[in-house]
Amino acid sequence: MNGDNRTPSWKRIGGVLLWTALPLAAGILLSLLIPRPIVGIIRLDAEIDSFSARDVIAQLNYAQDHPEVRAVVLALDSPGGTVVDTEAIYFEMARLRQTRPVVVVVNGLAASGAYYLAAGADYIYAKPTSGVGNVGVINQLPYAPLVFENFVSTGPYKLWGSSRDTALREMEMIKQEFYTAVKLGRGNALKAGPDVLLRGEIWPGTVALEMGLVDELGSQSQAVERAAAMAHIADPEVADLRDLAGLPAPYVPPFFITSPTGDSQATRPREPGLYLLYIPLGAGTLP
């Protein structure tokens, strides 16, 4: 018998590599196909109008269309805005929540329409001094029908949209819708009754917590952690959905009436209509 029956060492090494390292490497490459989950941040820090609503909805739709976005944090600092645009965002949020959790974090203000959106989220964080609430509707009532001889119409409310009385009553209906959205969104957590809630007050975060308007006092990072936990994900990437969606910088037209020189603003929205909006009428502001 001779000593040439042993497999050479380089062949053994090659075999190990072929059956272990290669599959492992391939497995590592294959694992990269599994995307890192993303918690998307949507920022709403302006009045709610058709432009800001379009911007937010585009980000919500991006989240809807991209499976790697597993949760959304909506960061609010808004006094609210038009009723119809608020409703548009609210509907899209409700649709998104069927597949992903949405957590709200209130920064400066979530008043009126902004709180309407917050109430439609799975969880709400606020800072101790965030402004929360302002449940209600505002409107500039139309004039009583007049007769203009040089500018005629075919009906008494063609120019005004409705009678003053009807406009007032429609506000009441919208207020009830708003209140119902809050009740449904907050559920048993809501401790304040309509006599308090519908006064239209803005409460600091600490008081809002006692009233059940928010769930917890906390920061954006806590909101991200909560959203991740609700989505059953870990170590997510936190990304601004505006950047991910490649949206251009939003166009923000003046929301309030502005003087021709642009150096002062009246405390009335530029566009007539119904609003879920907080307008602070303090000293120095014009009615």
Partner: protein, 487 residues
């Protein structure tokens, strides 16, 4: 070989599993129901319309109701149409007071009016005006004051330094200046109800009513932004429920929007809008408006007049009867003409006669040298005439002895069938002076006191009728301090 394949497969899948488990700890399941409002179930609230009491013409309600427009009142008469129509249907004439300085003055108008309506005043009432209205109410007149938070005047001084200044003028200040003597006060607030309301939180339903004519037939009314009103001595007529709050205090409980003074003649309402279309048809608002018309028109039955209300103390044509011994001198005729003019201005005809006549009121003239016919007129007043018109003594009940020298009397007796005024003085000249004072309505030189007869309203005015006659120039009659006993 198989083992090697399995190991290789395992190693291939291991990183995938590790990565998946590292990042994905479970499957998200949303709440069973993403609850959003069912928007199709919401409706625009509509007002509960009520029945409107029929508008029937009623006779016997003639009279004058004054509507104040002299205090920067923030409303239009046309807004009261559903209310004023009911007054005019009863034969009531509405007069507006456009300014405090116009003629006839407020003082003269209140002499013949049966009610005064003040709506949303922005300028305060003067103390004299308040005094006149107080006297008017004391004599049976009705006062209706309506305020409304929506009638505030808001002004902006854009050029104020350092920032624009907002000023708000409310109607309750002026209204309260008028209502103070009647112990009624409006609050500078508005009432609201967030849970049950008429289309807006400021539009409050009221279902609690105190019994009385103003609230008769009411089960629910709606006020559209109303001031609250309080009255410690009067009655709160229309009161809000436990969920009706005041904007001033954000507290609830017993807040009233209507109040009646203790004497039942002054009514304060905190809202004007409920009277205007289309709100006058909501709930029982129309019935309340009808009741307000009744409140105003019923003043006629209670209205009383005294000498200060001349010439409106008369309700029939008047005959002027000089008693025996009275010669119609030039002076008397001149003043009688003035008297006739004054009465004509009030729509009352004055004619001379020898004796009182049925269906006529009466002005009788006499001097202290009484005749039997004069004593017939003055006997109800229990007045003792003097033996001498210069040195004698007048005996007036409740007044004590009075020297007749330079003194005249105006005696007023009001009975259902006739009003009688008797003018008595020491001479025809002083009698003419008395007629002149009566015609001018200026009784500032008179002291008034009540009379003694039961069953009639009596006033005795003791007046300066000219300069007293010097006793040494009097006719030689022995001095006497006696008076003839009253009959």
């Amino acid at each position: 070989m198989t083992r090697r394949l399995l190991i290789a497969l395992g190693l291939l899948l291991l990183p995938v599993a590790v990565r998946a488990v590292w990042f994905y700890r479970g499957v998200y399941s949303p709440a069973s129901l993403i609850a959003t409002p069912d928007y199709t179930t919401f409706a625009v609230p509509t007002p509960p319309l009520g029945a409107t009491p029929g508008l029937t013409a009623e006779s016997g309600g003639e009279g004058v109701v004054l509507v104040d427009l002299a205090h920067a009142n923030n409303f239009r008469i046309s807004e009261l149409e559903s209310f004023t129509a009911r007054l005019t249907a009863r034969g009531i004439r509405l007069e507006t007071i456009a300014s405090s300085s116009e003629t006839p003055s407020l003082a003269n108008r209140l002499k013949y009016a049966q009610a005064l309506i003040v709506v949303a005043p922005m300028a305060p009432f003067t103390p004299d005006e308040v005094r006149l209205v107080r006297r008017f109410v004391d004599h049976g007149g009705r006062l209706l004051v309506m305020t409304d938070p929506t009638r505030s005047a808001i002004g902006v001084d854009y050029f104020a330094i350092p920032s624009p200044v907002l000023t708000v003028t409310v109607d309750v200040v002026a209204a309260n200046s008028l209502l103070a003597p009647f112990d009624i006060t409006f609050s500078d607030d508005y009432l609201y109800n967030l849970s049950e309301n008429e289309g807006n939180f400021r539009n409050v339903f009221f279902t609690q009513f105190a019994d009385g004519p103003v609230t008769a037939g009411l089960s629910r009314v709606a006020f559209y932004a109303a001031h609250s009103v309080a009255t410690p001595s009067g009655r709160l007529l229309i009161v809000g429920g436990d969920h009706t709050y005041s904007s001033r205090t954000d507290s609830s409980g017993g807040l009233a929007a209507a109040a009646l003074s203790a004497d039942g003649r002054v009514l304060a309402l905190g809202d004007l809008t409920f009277i205007t279309a289309p709100y006058d048809g909501v709930a029982d608002n129309a019935q309340l408006i009808a009741n307000l018309a009744e409140f105003i028109s019923s003043a006629k039955a209670e209205r009383t007049h005294d000498l200060a209300d001349f010439p409106f103390i008369f309700s029939q044509p008047v005959v002027l009867v000089p008693t025996e011994g009275i010669t119609m001198t030039t002076d008397i005729l001149n003043q009688a003409a003035s008297l006739q003019t004054a009465l004509l201005g009030a729509g009352i005809r004055l004619t001379p006669a020898k004796a009182p006549q049925a269906d006529f009121d009466l002005i009788a003239l006499g001097t202290y040298t009484a005749t039997t016919s004069l004593e017939t007129y003055i006997s109800p007043f229990k007045i003792g005439l003097p033996d001498s018109p210069i040195t004698g003594t007048l005996t007036i009940p409740g007044f004590g002895p009075v020297s007749p020298n330079g003194i005249g009397l105006i005696l007023l007796s009001q009975k259902p069938e006739r009003t009688t005024v008797v003018l008595v003085a020491q001479s025809t000249k002083s009698l003419a002076n008395m007629i002149g004072q009566l015609a001018s309505g200026n009784l500032s030189a008179c002291v008034l006191t009540g009379g003694a007869e039961k069953g009639s309203a009596q006033t005795i005015a003791v007046c300066k009728a000219g300069e007293p006659t010097p006793i040494e120039s009097a006719s030689p009659t022995p001095p006497s301090t006696s008076s003839r006993s009253p009959p």
